[in-house]
Symmetry: C2
Subunit: 338 residues, 2 copies
């Protein structure tokens, strides 16, 4: 029986969350506080939330499914699922400082609630915690998984740095923008989609197919995230409307529009040259990105990514039911709130 | 022939520096820039320094010696020496942001020269680079070394967080202060002093002896660092005079003075309760720490640490000549500029 995506996400929550709470609980209490806040388990004063709001748990769900894809129980992937979720959240905590974002998931970001110093050190502790989970009982597959996670994390960091350098440049080559996305978002999702199979001891070919699936999913996911950064509903995204335009980010739709050679693209470049965009400016910029074809091109690119993701699974020697579930999950990710 | 400490530090520089340059060179150029600046190889515009100023290389020297201590060539320890030096420098880059320190080694700190965002991400990349060095060709001893490094780094982070929490509290228990020092400074030096033996496949008992040596050395080192933070010569330390007092840090001499129950200790507490100390206030605070016995107690505690460090080596099954060299190195560290 092919399982529906919401059911799989709920299973992840039930499997991963208690272990996540236990893992974060290993840290000294005062260091764990901002991390527990970030995960939505408590408020900034330490009072538990009855119904914590989380991320959707896409990465740990991929990790669990990738073990099942090679015929192993999901439990085998659990340390990998935990590690990738923690490392992903490390990147959110640090990125929010770097990007100066005051809100995430409808709440103050960690640096806003606890100060930049605590947010830096909480992120550092999270990154290490993820790697330690795989290294503490270092069986050969866990060591491979740890090395793979370290490499993926390094790629993610290089991608984030590339993204920051885009903020300082006037225009950005669209290909370079996609390269940044592959590093910043693709690498960790590629790891997530492969780590269960790695822990299950699957062949390199099979791991490679799952990895390609995750990479393409990551690229599609980021394309959609870039669209949400311009046209997303703040009540859904938890971020102010048009936030990426306010920050004058060179996201994919913007890069496409700036490179379009169209009149709308030129006017967008003029707007982006200003010191700061007010709400009218943001609205005008969004309309220009759309007029210059940035929105359509990004939607279509996201769909292409999803197609390539599905193709990668077809080429891999994996359970066909799980392959369908992975494709459903990919569609769920890409179609969120659109 | 027992080798002199300066000779051993110079050997480390010759062995480790080219490999360090090569390792940092694996990162994308723009991400490597602030790291190369931090290591003193270039200025902030990217122009090479003819005579770069570095740290003394205590940690990689310990790593190389700990391989020789168990009868193996120093080369065996090289990945461990590199990794610990890079991870140590990650902590400096992040700590300088957290502590708001504008200068290190007579130059602007990374965050001051490149901005906090670049400094955060450069530090993240450095932490990972250190772990990747040990995980990229994961022989069993390298995996043990990587797990040990991850654990030591986690301790260091917990210690730094504890230190930050001290800044927010009025007084600090002296024992708690030493616990913080064991974590913040001791754990990574303990790893440094053991990693060469780990990579050489030495027994747990021998590794444990070297680890204890490194831990005590770290505690002594931090005690001296705390003294330099109050009475150190700025032209030697590269930091403003009395910097720790200006920041009202609860360093060991200050914790001892505050807990002394003396009149001088009470007056110090009054001074520390002020919003900000000017130069006269710093001078007065330093005199009060000394009067309350904080200086003498810290010097004597540092000497006790060194004694225990030497004892730990006597109990371990290691080469007696290298043991003497390790003790010389410890004395060099503790007696620097005093």
């Amino acid at each position: 029986m092919r399982r529906a995506t919401p059911e799989l996400l709920e299973r992840t929550r039930l499997m991963v969350e208690p272990a996540l709470i236990e893992t974060v609980g290993r840290l000294p209490a005062s260091l764990a506080l901002p991390i527990r806040y970030h995960f939505g388990w408590i408020d900034s004063a330490g009072v538990p939330f009855p119904n914590p709001r989380h991320g959707k748990g896409i990465r740990p769900t991929l990790a669990l499914l990738s073990a099942e894809a090679v015929g192993t129980e999901a439990e085998v992937a659990l340390p990998g699922a935990l590690a990738v979720e923690i490392v992903h959240n490390f990147s959110l905590v640090h990125d929010d400082i770097i990007d100066n974002d005051p809100e995430r998931r409808h709440r103050a970001t960690v640096w806003k609630a606890f100060g930049a110093g605590d947010a830096i050190i909480a992120g550092d502790a999270m990154m290490l915690l993820g790697l330690e989970l795989l290294l503490e009982r270092p069986t050969p597959p866990r060591v491979v998984a740890a090395a793979d996670l370290a490499e993926a994390t390094a790629s993610m960091i290089a991608g984030q740095h590339m993204d920051m350098s885009f903020d300082r440049s006037e225009a950005v080559d669209v290909d370079l923008c996609w390269e940044m996305v592959s590093l910043k978002t693709g690498a960790l999702l590629a790891h997530a989609a492969a780590v269960g199979a790695i822990l299950a001891g699957a062949s390199e070919g099979t791991v490679g197919g799952l990895r390609s699936f995750g990479l393409e999913l990551g690229r599609g996911f980021q394309a959609i995230d870039d669209l949400l950064g311009i046209w997303g509903d703040p009540s859904v995204t938890g971020k102010p409307a048009g936030n990426d335009l306010r920050e004058r980010k060179k996201s994919i739709p913007v890069a496409v529009a700036l490179a379009s050679g169209s009149r709308a693209g030129e006017r967008l470049a003029d707007l982006y040259a200003r010191e700061r965009l007010d709400d009218d400016g943001i609205e005008a910029a969004a309309a220009l990105v759309e007029e210059a074809g940035g929105r359509d091109a990004t939607v279509s690119a996201a769909r292409d990514c999803m197609r390539r993701a599905a193709d990668a699974l077809r080429g891999a020697d994996i359970d066909p039911q799980v392959a369908e579930e992975l494709v459903d999950l990919a569609a769920f990710v890409v179609e969120r709130d659109f």
